[in-house]
Structures are given as structure tokens and as C-alpha cells.
């Protein structure tokens, strides 16, 4: 399976529709400090079902909804949609393309969709965990993990290993 497209609206700093189309190989994401690069990683974690606000640098999950800037008012919903090329059928669904959508409203209501049809969070996470894309997986490596994995405190490292097992 391959990452094909990412569409973000209302999530963190993405007040306007933000669309990335992906290709194979190594893609560099560049831009000034604070422009939204790590927010793209957060969006991917979120749409694939993380339940930990802390993991995506938010105090509570509601904080991922665009909360305004000097020129804009806060928005009422965060939505992220990721589309995969599934021609190799490595995702357990009989479709050439599989899309996953996650929405969160200010009311606290959450929605999950696979190929446009509403489903439960568990349907999303079950699908992803099999492909190494669970929220405890190693598919995002960040600079802060360097400190943790070398930490002389064995407990910190053990946590990281637990996630791989």
C-alpha cells in the first residue's frame, strides 16, 4: 500500500483546505519555524486513530480544532482525510483505493469514515495496526525520541521497546 493523498481542513494551523499528493521515494517537507510541518505529522497520527492528545502535542483533543489567529476566528470542526493506493491489497479491503476520514466537532462529537462510509474508531485502528501504522508504532521518528531512547532511565527506554513488541 502507498500513501496517496492527504487533505486537511480545520485541524491545527490548517484553516484553509490543505492538500498534499504523494509519490514514492523520499519527500522533504520544508518551511520556516512554526509554519506547520510537524502539524502534518500530527494530522496523519490523528486521522489514523490516535486517542492520545499528548502524542499530538495538544492538552486536550478539542485543541486540535483551528482556534483562530490574529486575522481569523476559530473554526467549528477539524477534518483530516488520508487516501491510500491499495492495488496490492495489503490493506484488508477489496478496493484499489482506501480513504480514511476523521472529524471532530467543538461539541466533542467524533466521526470516522472508511471510503466515505461511517464506521467505528476500532475499524480504523484494526486496519492500520496490521500494517505497522498503529499509534504505538515506529512509523513516526521525532527528534525528542533521541533523548528518550538514550535516557539512562531504563523505564523510559522500556516504554519505547514495549511499543515495538
Amino acid at each position: 500500500m502507498r500513501l496517496k493523498r492527504l487533505e486537511i481542513l480545520g485541524f491545527k494551523s490548517f484553516a484553509d483546505s490543505f492538500i498534499m499528493d504523494f509519490e514514492p521515494g523520499i519527500s522533504a517537507v520544508v518551511g520556516p519555524n512554526g509554519c506547520g510541518k510537524s502539524n502534518v505529522a500530527d494530522a496523519l497520527r490523528w486521522v489514523l486513530g490516535t486517542q492520545s492528545a499528548k502524542q499530538i502535542r495538544a492538552e486536550v483533543m478539542e485543541n486540535v480544532i483551528f482556534d483562530g489567529s490574529s486575522g481569523r476566528k476559530p473554526m467549528g470542526m477539524a477534518e483530516v482525510k488520508v487516501t491510500f493506493d491499495n492495488s496490492d491489497r495489503s490493506l484488508a479491503l477489496d478496493f484499489d483505493e482506501v480513504s480514511v476520514t476523521r472529524r471532530l466537532f467543538r461539541s466533542g462529537v467524533s466521526e470516522y469514515l472508511i471510503n466515505g462510509s461511517k464506521c467505528r474508531l476500532m475499524d480504523v485502528t484494526d486496519l492500520m495496526v496490521d500494517r505497522g501504522l498503529g499509534s504505538a508504532g515506529y512509523w513516526i521518528l521525532e527528534a525528542e525520541m533521541v533523548k528518550t531512547i538514550l535516557s539512562p532511565r531504563a523505564e523510559d527506554r522500556r516504554e519505547l521497546f514495549d511499543e515495538a513488541a
Binding site: 500513501l3 504523494f22 523520499i26 509554519c35 533521541v146 538514550l150 514495549d162
Partner: protein, 154 residues
């Protein structure tokens, strides 16, 4: 019979010994479980010897050497259960040019099967990538995508 943890540990260790040498262009490293019965509960010791230096605990290495050793270990954990794509957020910040070349070299090797998305400020990393995505805030607080070419960044 090995427990699942012990088996995971043994796989991570095999990857680590290999990836370290590839990233450091030589030298050697190892991880040992301080409690053989339960490697993850007992804590883990990481020993490393960059080329030409002496074997020491990873904590004695320089800032950049530690970061590179950590990348070797994190990547080894990744390889136990590889995913179709992998995101790397500014792992290259403390690395010198030669180490960035090794790092990008290993990504290239794995990029036939894995898509890599790498957040970076480093020109050398950008040059070694297949394409660039630029993110800007033309309007303060609002992220937008922009096309970027390498010559623009120089």
C-alpha cells in the same frame, strides 16, 4: 522457548548492529539486556564504538554521535514491523554533512519499499531527497502548501 519480548529484542539487536555500522561507516555497537530473562523490564545497555575510537557507553559520545546512534536504534525498532511509509521529523538537526550523507544513504536504500516524509531545515538533506513540499504561512497562523525548488532555497 523465547518470549515474544525476547524475540523482539533479538530482532532489534540484529538490525541495530548492522544499521549502526552503515550509518557510522564502520565501528561497532551492541545492545545488551541487563536482565536476560526479561530484556525489557531489566533495562538496556547501549555500547558503541565509532571508527577509530574506543568502545564506550553511548552516553559518552558527542551530541551528534548520540543522535546518530539513537537513529540507528529507532530505525532498528522500525524494521521489526516496517510500515508502508515513515515520517522523520528533523532527525538530522545535530548531524554534520558526512553523517547526513550516511543517513540519506540508508533512507535511499529502504525507499524502494518505504515512502519517507522528512521534515527538515537542512539543505543537504533536501538535495538528497526526491522532491520538496514547501509549507508557508503567507497569512499569519494559517498554513499553506507551496511549490519549492532547490535553487530557490540556496
Amino acid at each position: 522457548a523465547q518470549t515474544r519480548f525476547q524475540e523482539t529484542f533479538s530482532q532489534v539487536r540484529d538490525h541495530f548492529r548492522e544499521v549502526f555500522v552503515e550509518l557510522f561507516g564502520g565501528g561497532e555497537a551492541d545492545i545488551t539486556a541487563l536482565d536476560a530473562e526479561d530484556p525489557l523490564e531489566g533495562g538496556i545497555q547501549i555500547m558503541a564504538r565509532p571508527r577509530g575510537k574506543k568502545l564506550e557507553n553511548v552516553t559518552s559520545l558527542s551530541g551528534g554521535e548520540r543522535a546518530l546512534a539513537a537513529v540507528a536504534l529507532l530505525f532498528s525498532l522500525y524494521l521489526v514491523k516496517p510500515s508502508p511509509f515513515c515520517i522523520l521529523d528533523e532527525l538530522d538537526a545535530p548531524l554534520d554533512d558526512a553523517n547526513i550523507d550516511s543517513f540519506m544513504g540508508i533512507l535511499k536504500r529502504f525507499s524502494t519499499d518505504t515512502q519517507f516524509l522528512m521534515m527538515t531545515h537542512n539543505k543537504r538533506s533536501m538535495e538528497a531527497s526526491d522532491r520538496l513540499y514547501g509549507i508557508t504561512m503567507a497569512e499569519p497562523g494559517v498554513s499553506g502548501l507551496t511549490t519549492v525548488s532547490l535553487s530557490e532555497i540556496e
